[in-house]
Amino acid sequence: MSQTIVQKILAKASGRQSVEPGEVLEPKVSLAMSHENAALVLNQFQEIYKDLDCPAKVWNPSKIAIIFDHRVPAESKKTATNQKKVRNFINEQGITKFHDIRGDEGGICHQILPESGYVLPGSLIVGTDSHTTTHGALGAFSFGIGATEMASVWALGNILNVEVPATIKVVINGELPKYVTPKDIILHLIGKISAEGANFKVLEFHGTTIQNMPTSGRLTICNMAVEAGATSGIVPPDAETVRYLREEAGFTGEIELLQPDKDAQYDTIVEIDATKLEPQIACPHTVDNVKPVSEVEGIKIHQVVIGSCTNGRLDDIAQAADILRGKKVDKSVRMLVFPASSRIYTQAVEAGYVTDLMKAGAVVMNSGCGPCLGVHQGALGDGETALATTNRNFKGRMGNPVSDVYLASPVVAAYSALFGVISNPLKGGK
């Protein structure tokens, strides 16, 4: 039977030849990722074992990854105590893939996993974070789950009740115009199919634009697949995937490039002509409220945020630095930059980008989730507006229910910071 890439991964993880959409499976998990919410996971894990005779040991400590990124350094005694409990648990259980707040190996979970070589094509990854969809960029089937579900995975090594999803094939062809980035592609797609257009389905990305795109951009696109409701986004792995794993992630083991069958059955096919795109903006308060930047120019902004698991990679920071070099962020704007990992931060220092950004007036913060979800730093005041390269603009998202968040690429965000209003880089002015 011909199958999509996700069908093949689920079949392999379930010891089957093939599987069909709608079937319910209990596949084996290759990697189980959590961040600070491991505190809740371990509470639920202990609940599972409370009345049982067997010892509370995780199924395989080498397959669990825990990365502190949501509130680093801890903003409160509650968080600090939760983090302490998780560190103790990590030591007790012998969990090795642990990334604490550190300048050498810390960062945001969705950057740490790929850059550490933890994500392999054909693997099945679950994470207690909805943006776990990111790792489909390397050809893994990777999706977000809740804390109790993760506790069950820690105990069993299987994820229960996975319904084989149908797949939407997204074909993106053509060369991206100047100032148009992978972020604009995914915002455009979400606007086109809606915030629930891919609910319970997978988005499988094809076409020459994707084939010619570095892994960095693929990570941005798969990161936001969940904003269309998708269980996961996935890019068929190719030579670029191998290059990334060898050169950037330092992975030396065997790599299997699992591909979808040519005649695989798709739910629907969506086509996008990349050559016709202009920079896109998601307007408040839903991610599918997407307009071309030319329709929202001139809106006053008080804060610009560049970074996050969506757009905090070296090429994102380089784009911002190129725009701001030798110029000044408007005095009415606070500009915050959050590199996606300490490694990227160091690379940005070495390339001179951090100096460029700071001289322009931006503040380069430590790597973390920061203001994206309003849990730590960078909250907005009443009636204020932010332009961010993050992934959500829901009401209250940046810490204040009476504020607005617009989402855009690093190019549009950095360019707009110069003027204090949403600005169109295509026009070369306000």
Partner: protein
């Protein structure tokens, strides 16, 4: 029979259900106080309602979209709510099933604050409006978790079978 305590619109995100600023609070015993903290009227009617008294929250399409935070399900379960929505986002629905929060998928539901509803297998009857609406049953595999009393007892059962 249960009364509709409040009605919300489409695309209600987990940021609205349980704001990010409370995410350091994780225990199901502590999360209920922060439910819908940014919708003051709803938060105060939930916190003033006796905890054991059941009530219905009416949602639109894509209820529970966004973050995977499980607090969004535990905070509503703590208020003994049943959520009747046109449809749900995937992770929220799964979290609800895992924790035993009652979620009813009812694509055509019509109900307003104060209406009396009767929730039966396969349908919701709005006694106030005198109308009946069909519901979509959970897939069999998810029903197995509900029948076991949630994912923790279900996982315990599987662990016992393995040893």
């Amino acid at each position: 029979m249960a009364k509709v305590i409040y009605k919300v619109g489409d695309d209600i995100s987990t940021d609205i259900i349980y704001p990010g600023r409370y995410m350091a609070t994780v225990l199901p015993t502590e999360t209920p106080q922060f439910a819908f903290d940014d919708i003051e009227e709803l938060n105060s009617s939930l916190n003033s309602k006796p905890k054991d008294e059941s009530a219905v929250l009416i949602g639109g399409r894509n209820f529970g979209c966004g973050s995977s935070r499980e607090q969004a399900a535990s905070t509503l379960k703590g208020h003994n709510l049943t959520i009747v929505a046109k449809d749900f986002a995937r992770i929220f629905l799964q979290n609800s099933i895992n924790l035993g929060l009652n979620t009813i998928i009812c694509p055509t539901i019509e109900a307003d604050q104060g209406d009396e509803l009767e929730i039966l297998p396969g349908k919701v009857i709005n006694k106030t409006k005198g109308k009946s609406f069909d519901t979509i049953p959970l897939p069999a595999a998810r029903k197995a978790i509900v029948d076991a009393g949630g994912l923790i007892p279900y996982t315990q059962k599987l662990l016992k079978e393995r040893t």
